[in-house]
Amino acid sequence: MGKIINVIDTAYRATLEEQDDTSLWFTRACKNAGADMDILLTGNAVNYVVRNQNPHALYLGKGAIPHPSKFQDDLSDFIKSGGRLYFLNNDLEERGIESKEIIEGAQALDRTKMASFLDTYENIWHW
């Protein structure tokens, strides 16, 4: 059925409760099931490529969130598994994130190139 690009625009969607980003998790699960998938991070989700994120465990009364997700590690694992990870450079710059702060293997995409970039995929899923 052809190559899929997962455009992830909404970040930190129940990530504490899930100890995962549900769209990233789903992407990796589908890839493990044989789907040919890449990821494009846009909007607030570009923050996922920042290397030095260090979420701490959270305790609420007797409840705990002991293993908050480390998105940079999830995305590095995705790249190591053969997936390509892109981020919209304009959205990164708008947030004051410098390229030296991001994980290895993530590739910048300029907004002006987005249409032609998306045109190289047969399927676009927008999260």
Partner: protein, 134 residues
């Protein structure tokens, strides 16, 4: 005849996405196409059988007068539409999403599955639509 594969993510009563996707699926089935739904995250509660209507104290209506719509009834209705139109309709509830919410008691029709079943449906359908929570 073609086939549509849809992922939905919103829980009941939180977003217009739910009613929209129900309408799209109903229309697709009536027009003679097959549909597979993957209910991910909060959408796993759409088919939860213990859902109950309630009165509306603001309007002063009783439960009977209010006839509050229930998403489980819409899911059952989609299966009925598929039967009436001789179409194949599958509703797959994400099993892990069901477990973490405790919503495993469903109306008749939905089955338990995982992302691999969504990929399988993707590989066998004509179009896939992902409708994510914002």
């Amino acid at each position: 005849m073609s086939s549509l594969n849809v992922l939905i993510m919103d829980p009941p009563y939180e977003s217009a996405n739910t009613a929209t996707v129900f309408r799209m699926i109903d229309s697709t089935l009536r027009k003679g196409h097959d549909v597979t739904v993957f209910a991910y995250e909060g959408a796993a509660a759409l088919s939860f059988k213990p859902q109950k209507g309630h009165p509306n104290p603001v309007k002063g209506t009783s439960e009977e007068e209010e006839k509050h719509p229930l998403s489980k009834d819409f899911v059952e209705g989609l299966f009925a539409t598929a039967r009436e139109n001789g179409r194949e309709f599958k509703w797959i509830n994400c099993g892990l999403c069901v477990d973490e919410r405790g919503v495993g008691d469903w109306v008749e029709g939905p089955v338990r599955g995982g992302p691999q079943h969504f990929v399988e449906a993707f590989n066998n359908c004509d179009k896939t639509l992902v409708i994510a929570t914002r």
